[in-house]
């Protein structure tokens, strides 16, 4: 490293601009990343569509015109109609409600519970760690969908129980990711430095450990949101998730399956596309967030001058 060391001016360098609040800095870095910005736009549209489904959807999601059943996409029905003559577009829009809600709530549960378990496990270590992680291993050893089926079967199928089941199933993933990161951050010199100043465990965890394990957790969250939506689709497809007539993307795929042979491709294509778009948007935003939250990456992004 070559440093112009004897020059006092170098030591006295001051930032050219006053500092922005940290969340704005993060946001502008996020938007500077085009892919992440695109993902954010798609997600925003999906969320708006879900929230204002009543206004956006051209038709009801329950009442169909049985005479105009299984119609291919047309000017009246952009995404065609299903076997009961219901508008597929409207059902996809209303389906966004269920899918996004399940994704958010289920992942919210696993994020909070899993992070807590991972933090305690990684920071405390010893027998606490052993007990918690073996419990997580047991949960983890079941195939995701199988465990979810078992939980829903015990709790009776409903939207709420689907969310709980998916939340439980995803908890060990977060616990492991967090624990692994905590184990390495805990040994960092800056943690020791903070302790040498007299910091309490609570302060060290909240100020140093959590922010430094955030990156993998954020990436995991975006991935898990996508998987949660897929799992919900799978459960609904198997008939133990969301119950009809409520539209869910997975449920629509289940219905569509019977009509693929008759050539009604629109019934499966559009809900499938909706799942694909959501999952992709989530991944793009997740990747962007990870970079935007890292101060080092952030200055690289900003120094490129892309805004």
């Amino acid at each position: 490293m070559s440093e112009p060391t004897n020059d006092p001016a170098e030591q006295l360098q001051a930032p050219d601009q006053p500092s922005e609040p940290r969340w704005r800095e993060t946001l502008s870095a996020l938007l500077a990343n085009r892919l992440a910005a695109a993902g954010l736009v798609i997600l925003t549209l999906l969320i708006l569509a879900a929230v204002f489904a009543d206004l956006v959807a051209p038709y009801s999601f329950t009442d169909g015109d049985i005479v105009r059943r299984l119609e291919p996409p047309s000017r009246d029905h952009w995404f065609g109609t299903d076997e009961l003559g219901r508008d597929v577009l409207s059902r996809v829009i209303f389906g966004a409600r269920v899918s996004l809600q399940v994704g958010a709530v289920a992942v919210g549960i696993s994020l909070v519970v899993g992070t807590l378990i991972g933090l305690i496990s990684g920071y405390r270590g010893g027998w606490v760690d052993a007990v918690l992680m073996r419990t997580m291993d047991v949960l983890f050893s079941f195939p995701v969908v199988l465990l979810a089926i078992a939980i829903v079967a015990v709790l009776t199928p409903s939207l709420r129980n689907t969310m709980i089941a998916i939340g439980v199933v995803f908890t060990p993933i977060f616990a492991r990711v967090v624990r692994g990161s905590v184990l390495s951050v805990r040994e960092e010199v800056y943690v020791r430095a903070s302790r040498s100043l007299g910091a309490s465990d609570w302060r060290i965890i909240s100020r140093h450990v959590l922010p430094n394990v955030a990156a993998p957790v954020i990436v995991q969250t975006s991935l898990s949101l996508a998987f949660a939506i897929l799992t919900e689709a799978a459960l609904s497809y198997l008939g133990i998730g969301v119950q009809p007539p409520r539209p869910a993307w997975g449920l629509m795929l289940l219905d569509a399956q019977g009509f693929i042979a008759t050539g009604a491709w629109w019934m499966s294509l559009f809900p499938g596309l909706a799942i694909f778009l959501t999952v992709m948007a989530l991944n793009l935003v997740g990747d962007g967030l990870r970079d935007a939250l890292d101060p080092k990456q952030r200055s690289i992004i900003q120094s490129r001058g892309v805004t």
């Binding site: 440093e3 030591q11 001051a14 930032p15 430095a193 100043l197 007299g198 910091a199 430094n212």
Partner: protein, 330 residues
């Protein structure tokens, strides 16, 4: 010589490694006694792995000592409760070797410094806190406005200055400097040393200055302790130690210092130490240095030499200066 700031007696730090039948004890620090007067600097020198960093950490209880006494200004540090220990840490700080690892990459550097103020409630209001952080940065040769920047935006030397500013935040009496310049460019080393010297004079700080060679500490220390494999092997006033090293290990370390004079440098006699430092899991019997000592004789493996006064105020642990020590029993 009655009211030392820091007095350490027979400090031991042992770690267990392995499990079950393979369980072994690493004697990282094995009976160290030190004394540090207010406003003075004690150099602690030894090869890597000799336990000098562990000693520094154990003094601040960043690593729990296994046994021994650490008395700081009349306070028995080992007897402090968790809560009192946190409050006591205001008085003793540490500067770390690696300036790249010692600052949280996700916090603006001002926050890293401000943390010390928050912990001990040392500021009144936001503006006062900002001013104090700015003042500390300035004291260490940086512009107050760099407080909002992140660690990766600084060079190694600048980061070390920030680390020093953080250590100063609580106005400690004592700072453990763990090889604070070893990771820096040679050109910056002098700057940081000067800064540390200035601060000591202005603030009356006492330093425990840890280093891996005698060259680094020759100008900064009042007294120097040489450490080998968990023990102090020689301890004396600085000039005394340089002029008349009593322990063969110190002599070897001293012979490794280059002389800034080509003629004398060419004639400099070098004592090369053969081999590696033995494992602290299974140290040699008797004198620990005997496996690499050029003056070794047969008694060395039978008696573990005690640290004893050789000349006035100059202690060494070597059987050449009288066979005083603990006979090996086996």
């Amino acid at each position: 010589m009655s009211t030392a700031l820091l007095e350490v007696e027979d400090l031991h730090v042992h770690f267990s490694v392995g499990r079950g039948r393979d369980r072994q004890t690493v004697r990282a620090v094995d009976g160290v006694s030190l004394r540090l007067e207010r406003g003075q600097t004690l150099g602690l020198v030894g090869e890597s792995g000799c336990g000098k960093t562990t000693t520094g950490l154990a003094l601040l209880r960043l690593v729990e000592p296994t046994s021994g006494r650490v008395v700081f200004d009349g306070t028995d540090v080992r007897a402090l409760s968790k809560r009192d220990l946190r409050a006591w840490r205001r008085r003793a700080a540490m500067i770390f070797q690696d300036p790249y690892a010692s600052l949280d990459p996700r916090l603006p550097v001002g926050e890293s410094i401000g943390e010390a103020l928050d912990i001990h409630g040392l500021h009144q209001g936001k503006q006062a806190r900002r001013d104090r952080i700015g003042h500390l940065l300035e004291r260490c040769g940086l512009h107050p406005r760099v407080a909002d920047r992140y660690p990766h935006e600084f060079s190694g030397g600048q980061r070390q200055r920030i680390g020093i500013a953080r250590a100063l935040a609580c106005e400690p009496d004592f700072i453990v400097c763990d090889e604070p310049i070893a990771a820096l460019d040679v050109s910056i080393q002098a700057q940081v040393m000067n800064l540390l010297n200035e601060l000591q004079q202005d603030l009356g700080l006492a330093y425990l200055f840890i280093a891996h060679d005698l060259a680094a500490v020759q100008h900064v220390c009042d007294r120097i302790a040489v450490m080998y494999l968990g023990r102090i092997v020689e301890e004396a006033e600085r000039l005394d130690l340089y002029r008349e090293p009593q322990h063969p290990y110190t002599q070897a370390l001293l012979s490794a210092i280059p002389i800034p004079d080509p003629v004398r440098e060419r004639e400099r006699e070098r004592i090369r130490l053969e081999g590696d430092v033995p494992s602290p899991i299974d140290p040699p019997s008797g004198c620990r240095f005997r496996t690499r000592c050029r003056a070794v004789f047969d008694t060395c493996e039978r008696i573990d030499p005690a640290l004893q006064e050789v000349t006035d105020d100059h202690r060494a642990a070597c059987l050449l200066h009288g066979e005083v020590g603990t006979p090996v029993t086996s």
